[in-house]
């Protein structure tokens, strides 16, 4: 029997613009308790634990040390990945494939509301010698990317605005989402110019929240769960951090991560095989750029596909039916966690008002945001 790994439990707090009533550790505790209840497992029975977190966002040096308590990992094998949840998921997958672990819990969270000046924090990610002295915001880098992407693919500002309309509209059907709204393209195009062509509403606002997932090997998964959600493909990669040497129009990090995941999942024709996808839309144009990088359509086609309704809730390939980052909120390292949560609920048939009928294969794709060029892809199925 080919060894497989499944998600057997998942829990979340949902996502809100601010969460002043609880500490970040209490936020995580809630998601962990729900995930272990969902999996029908006690934390004492879990073999290993991984948190996806990054020191500066946490406001702690060596934040790893503050991770075990609230997920039941004290005095257990535990580690922190300074990357997205999907990168942690890949590590958990590999831990189980070694045979040394039957179960692994993965955690990611955002307590962005704890950071008083988040643009400054993101700006600190720039090269200190070549880029940081200009004191430009991270959104300016996204603006540079957007101009080039629109130029190379003949994508219009209206098409980008339509991504925002779609995703904020989708979020209205998602009880976890913080930023659902019924808006029109002109609301986006008339919003405050930030770094043109980017306007205020093209940018996903930050949100708080936590997600914990429990992974198990095939045998354990079938014993624990009636609806295990199988991990079929994983891929991740990082482009050069040197902004000056980058290709500004194409998301190569997403293309290569997807190729790795498709190969593992045995998917030769993504557009035909993938039933729905949750992909990074931290900036409106990113959804379109990433659709093309993931080969869900050809370069230049994403905007037209969007306009045709194919990527809407009831379309042929719904993209970000959860509302995406634009509708749910930008969750930093928990961005992938929210996407995996959506895939699991959809594939289990538990997505309520936003349930897409008859879905078997879903794709989640993340990007670690400006100024990174790191992407990861996960493909899950219920078969």
């Amino acid at each position: 029997m080919i060894k497989r790994v499944a998600i057997v439990g998942i829990g979340t707090t949902g996502f809100r613009p601010i969460t002043p009533d609880v500490s970040y550790r209490e936020l995580i505790f809630e998601a962990a308790r729900k995930a272990y209840t969902d999996a029908g497992i006690e934390p004492s029975e879990i073999g290993g634990f991984i948190t996806a977190a990054e020191d500066f966002l946490e406001g702690y040096s060596i934040c790893d040390e503050y991770c075990p308590d609230q997920i039941g990992a004290v005095l257990k094998p535990t580690q922190t990945i300074p990357g997205d949840f999907i990168q942690a998921l890949a590590t958990g997958y590999m831990m189980i494939m070694t045979g040394a672990f039957k179960t692994v819990a993965i955690e990611a969270h955002s307590k962005a509301s704890n950071v008083k000046n988040i643009d400054e924090l993101m700006g600190f990610a720039f090269d200190p010698v070549y880029n940081r002295p200009l004191r430009e915001t991270p959104h300016a880098i996204a603006g540079l990317e957007m101009t080039r992407y629109m130029f190379e693919t003949c994508t219009s500002a209206e098409q980008c605005a339509r991504v925002v309309v779609k995703n904020k509209g989708n979020a209205m059907r998602n009880p976890y989402a913080a930023f659902g709204a019924d808006i029109a393209e002109k609301d986006v195009l008339n919003s405050d110019p930030i770094s043109l062509p980017l306007h205020r509403l093209d940018i996903a606002p930050h949100a708080d929240g936590a997600v914990v997932a429990v992974l198990a090997d095939g045998e354990t998964a079938l014993a624990l769960s009636e609806t295990p959600i199988w991990i079929e493909g994983l891929g991740w990669c990082t482009d050069t951090p040197t902004l000056e040497m980058r290709d500004w129009g194409e998301a190569a990090y997403a293309r290569l991560a997807a190729e790795m995941a498709y190969k593992m999942a045995g998917i030769a024709n993504p557009a035909g095989m993938i039933d729905f996808a949750e992909i990074n839309d931290e900036y409106s144009f990113k959804e379109l750029q990433h659709m093309e990088a993931l080969k869900l359509c050809r370069p230049g086609e994403a905007g037209h596909l969007l306009e045709s309704g194919a990527t809407s809730y009831a379309g042929d390939i719904p993209i970000n039916v959860s509302g995406g980052a634009l509708g749910v909120g930008h969750l930093f390292e928990a961005s992938g966690a929210h996407k995996i949560l959506e895939l699991v609920e959809q594939l289990r048939g538990e997505a309520g008002a936003r349930q897409i009928p008859d879905v078997n294969i879903g794709l989640a794709q993340v990007w670690r945001g400006v100024p990174t060029a790191t992407g990861a892809v996960a493909i899950l199925s219920n078969m």
Binding site: P128, V129, F151, L196, L198
Partner: protein, 159 residues
């Protein structure tokens, strides 16, 4: 403290304000030193070239990030390039409005695979376009300190 009313600010419940009082020194390294010395002393840009991978790095790197060979031959790549992409930036880091919007651009240096991210100077929003040829404008030599701020911006090419 229990909360009995809806909170709209993160500072409503009891909390602790904190900052990170840490300071850094970032040394330029071999390639950075060569690059900024050329700007300061000669008002030109340097790159390094990997012949095997056919890549010219600007700013220069001391190694090829593809084949990982050491690169130590610095070439003068001049100060002329073209607008690879641009954005009109309206905001300061603290979210406040800039006194005037500024055009930030990625300038691809002619004949290389890299370039400089900097402001356009003397080019209006109406004039800017992808592919527009531009040339670096430096501060007067006496005012240069050997850093990216020695560049005022990029303006029209002087013929």
């Amino acid at each position: 403290m229990a909360t009995t009313e809806k909170m709209s600010k993160t500072t409503t419940p009891t909390h602790w304000d904190a900052d990170i009082p840490v300071n850094y020194v970032y040394t330029y390294g071999l390639a950075g030193e060569a690059f900024f010395r050329a700007i300061k002393d000669r008002g030109t840009f340097l790159g390094t070239r990997c012949d095997a991978c056919d890549i010219t790095y600007v700013p220069p790197k001391a190694y090829c990030d593809r084949c990982l060979e050491a690169l130590d031959k610095y070439i003068d790549v001049g100060t002329v390039g073209y607008v690879d992409t641009f954005t009109v930036s309206f905001k300061n880091m603290d979210g406040s409005e800039k006194p005037r919007p500024r055009i930030l651009a990625m300038i691809k240096i002619e004949g290389t695979d890299g370039g400089i991210i900097h402001y356009l100077d003397g080019i209006s929003i109406e004039e800017v376009a992808l592919g527009l040829p531009v040339q670096a404008i430096f501060k007067p030599k006496a005012q240069r300190k050997g850093g990216i701020e020695d560049i005022i911006g990029f303006g029209p090419v002087k013929r």
